[in-house]
Assembly symmetry: C2
Homo-oligomer: 508 residues x 2
């Protein structure tokens, strides 16, 4: 076993370096969590600087040429190890990420990072004032920088591919574009058919639900899912998210609307779905690049599986509705399980992606995906973006936002990072969630029965065994293939939607 | 102005390096704050590793030989700058700290840091079990390492001097020892005289005080002091402390005993005193070594000034007692201001330093200071420490702990760090607090009158102007000299004690 001057095996040296990088990234995650939960306003400017320092140090350590040398030696030393051994997997994943990271010059990263902060501030002002013009010049600069970043990957077939790869390794525009077209062509008619039916009455969700009691029920539900509070916690914030500091400290955040029961409830279950994935990764991968979710899309498949397939199902509420009624007796005591089930699955042509139901959600994503491509391809200018946005909403959802705040300014994504690769993960997650769940119940038909009894552990353990524990050892595609024997497909999702919403809305 | 290859002025290069180090230290402070406030138990082991990584990186960056080169060039370049210019001060303070830091080998630091964690754990167990033997071997190792650390500073007159210097630069055993002897010889007779008088009745403090209302009053009081909640916050923890992430984010923590009013109240005011100092430092010193308190002793002088001289004075309660009664009407409605004032100043021969009154406090410190010296000098073995502790309590305070938990195991200091230099700051703070306050009222006799009216800003602004804003530009000694024209002295403190407690206990 080759060793270095200091006589330590090369693999241990690599792991030591990776651990240091993980520590810097973990520290940055703590600082960011604190920033959006407890930090007083006076801390903002220094905190931005501290975060930049930590990230810059982590990047410098990861792109250190010594890392490349170590990888080369290790690839030789471990060339006979099986593909799915921990050692070969670590070397393979670090190589993949290293080769991508070293392409981007440090000076470019610094410039982009600076610009992101400025653009984000301009967006916050623009959104407040409902005036796209405030942020337009910044977004134009973002587009320019996004193109420049793509230029560091000249071998890509499409200008958006490198950005997509950094979130969802293995997917390209060539595959995703037809997939979004297929989704759109099937979903638009369903939405139209639903539009002809009688509206579902969801007024039971819009009553006064005291915050403390909402949080109480959320805690119970996610604990039942298997979220381990001794290795995590839930705090309040403006935009809910999951964050990980180590395998033993995986936190979620939520927000509570006292006038709407769905917000905290489903966002808690969604974020807990992300957290179960991270809490379920093998301990052997702590502080290593294998110790995190495999891709944004695969991550989203886990959060959406719990949020939608499980927690918006009839079976889930067979057990939990009783408990929910116990917590909100005066609000829900007279509402039947069926009425509640229908309310939480109401489909509506709406303007806001994050509030969208399962049927329309992917149409919101498709619009953003297509506009991103058009911007990067130079077929659409930033100036014309708001109008293009309105036009696509008219076409696909039959409604038009009367303000940019509810239109092109609604999502932070383009304004706090690059254009490109920012939205496909949501749809990838929705599609995969159905594929995984169907495999789970094919292998263990007790799962839905157990869910009806309030036992979520059969499903949780299946997911942990088949997906969670592997961390990012396999790419999303590899994972899907290994677990379901299938590659990514639109059909299971469409089938699921037709069945569930056909029943709910009496479609033929 | 000499510049480097990249054409940046050398001072800017130094500042950039210092900023990066400050960012790492700030990040470590956030991680530590989270560790003792919100972290779930599962996060502990990774958090220890992350903290070690951040501190090790900060130390490596500070002791980088390039730092030494920069300092040499800058000392030349700025040699004509006045002593108290920001530039000369920065170079001087960084040189002082650099010369000390490079003495200690990185391998020693790593070993010590490892040992500290183990020793701390053993102490927690020993304290729980009330069994000194559990931690004894670890403490013996600590003593050995503390001696080794002292050996890196062979020019010191006394083996404890280098440790004392790192907390309280400028002070040595040669000065401190006579000072403690003087204090002891004057305080022991006062304690004895008080012991002959009738006990003060402080039962009014020992009632049920609901946590929420205690925190409400604490917030009001410290806001009145000038603690800026937009640049800080208060959270609950096990052992109260103040911590700073940046000049705009200075946090305090507290603990609340519902059966004792004094705990949260005086610890909040104490920590807020520390925080006022940090919040009051000139913004020009953000993320620089000048941007922190000058020494542990000077820091303690500010917390004790507010906690004792202000908040345990009759004048303070002239205004605030009404408010406190409003919050705790059923508990304090029938208790007079004078009765309350006497209760919060009750003197007792007690075993626990942190609960000690103003009169006995420095006796507790003197015991620890003398025992530390005896250990380092080899005149006392760790094995004989518990008995030596009991003997000194018998001599000085006339009482003997019947358990080591209330004896030698009570303070964490020796068990989570070095032996030596750990206790003198408390007494330095007490002495200086009186010197500063007397100077303040000599310069502005309105201060005590304003305090009686609930206006704490006259004092706050005086302290900010004379002490806070300078950060660590001047050493504690320089600061004391500049502000009061005097050097450190026991007499003002003894005079203050005689006057206040002579009145309270009717001593002649």
């Amino acid at each position: 076993m080759p060793t270095s001057e200091n006589n330590e095996p090369l693999l241990a040296q690599l792991q030591q370096r990776l651990r240091e990088i993980a520590d810097l990234e973990g520290a940055a995650a703590v600082l960011n969590w604190d920033r959006v939960t407890y930090m007083p306003p006076g801390g903002a400017s220094a905190r931005a600087r501290q975060l930049a320092t930590l990230r810059q140090l982590a990047h410098a350590k990861f792109t250190d040429p010594k890392m490349g040398e170590l990888l080369e030696s290790l690839e030789l030393e471990y060339r006979d190890r099986p593909y799915d051994s921990d050692e070969a997997s670590l070397i393979r994943i670090v190589r993949r990420d290293y080769d991508r990271a070293v392409r981007i010059p440090a000076a470019f990263l610094a410039e982009f990072s600076q610009h992101r902060a400025t653009c984000y501030e301009a967006w916050a002002k623009a959104r407040q004032a409902d005036d796209f013009e405030i942020v337009r010049p910044y977004l134009e600069k973002t587009l320019e920088l996004s193109r420049e970043r793509a230029s560091f990957f000249p071998e890509s077939d499409h200008i958006a591919d490198s950005a997509i790869q950094s979130a969802d390794y293995g997917y390209t525009v060539a595959e995703l574009k037809p997939l979004f077209e297929q989704l759109r062509s099937q979903l638009v008619p369903i939405v139209e058919a639903i539009g002809d039916r009688r509206e579902i009455d969801d007024s039971c969700l819009h009553q006064h639900f005291p915050e403390e009691r909402q949080l109480l029920f959320c805690h119970r539900a996610i604990a039942r899912m298997g979220y381990d509070f001794s290795r995590g916690r839930q705090d309040k914030t403006l935009h809910p998210f999951m964050t990980k500091f180590s395998l033993g400290d995986v936190r979620i955040t939520t927000r509570v609307y006292e006038s709407h029961l769905g917000q905290a409830l489903f966002s808690s279950i969604h974020e807990a779905g992300h957290a179960l994935y991270e809490q379920g990764i093998s301990e052997a991968f702590e502080a290593s690049p294998l110790g995190r979710g495999a891709s944004s899309g695969l991550h989203e498949s886990q959060s959406r599986l719990w949020e939608n397939i499980v927690a918006r199902s009839r079976g889930f509420w067979e057990y939990f509705y009783n408990q929910l009624q116990g917590v909100f007796l005066s609000q829900l005591g007279q509402i039947s399980t069926e009425k509640f089930y229908r309310a939480i699955n109401k489909v509506r042509r709406s303007l806001i992606r994050t509030d969208a139901d399962e049927v329309t959600y992917n149409l919101h994503v498709a619009i953003r995906f297509d506009l991103e491509l058009a911007l990067l391809e130079g077929k659409l200018s930033v100036r014309d973006l708001p109008e293009a946005w309105r036009e696509r909403y008219r076409q696909d959802l039959g409604i038009v936002p009367d303000s940019d705040r509810d239109g092109v300014l609604q999502d932070v994504h383009w304004y706090d990072g690059a254009i490109g690769g920012r939205f496909q993960s949501y749809t990838l997650g929705n599609l995969m969630s159905v594929q995984f769940y169907q495999q789970a119940i094919a292998e263990d038909p007790e799962i839905p029965v157990d869910i009806e009894r309030g036992n979520l552990q059969t499903l949780h353990q299946w997911l942990k065994r088949n997906i969670y524990r592997h961390g990012s050892k396999y790419t999303a595609n590899e994972c899907l293939q290994r677990v379901t024997g299938q590659s990514l497909s639109v059909n299971p999702f469409i089938h699921y939607i037709r069945e569930k919403y056909g029943d709910l809305y009496g479609l033929s």
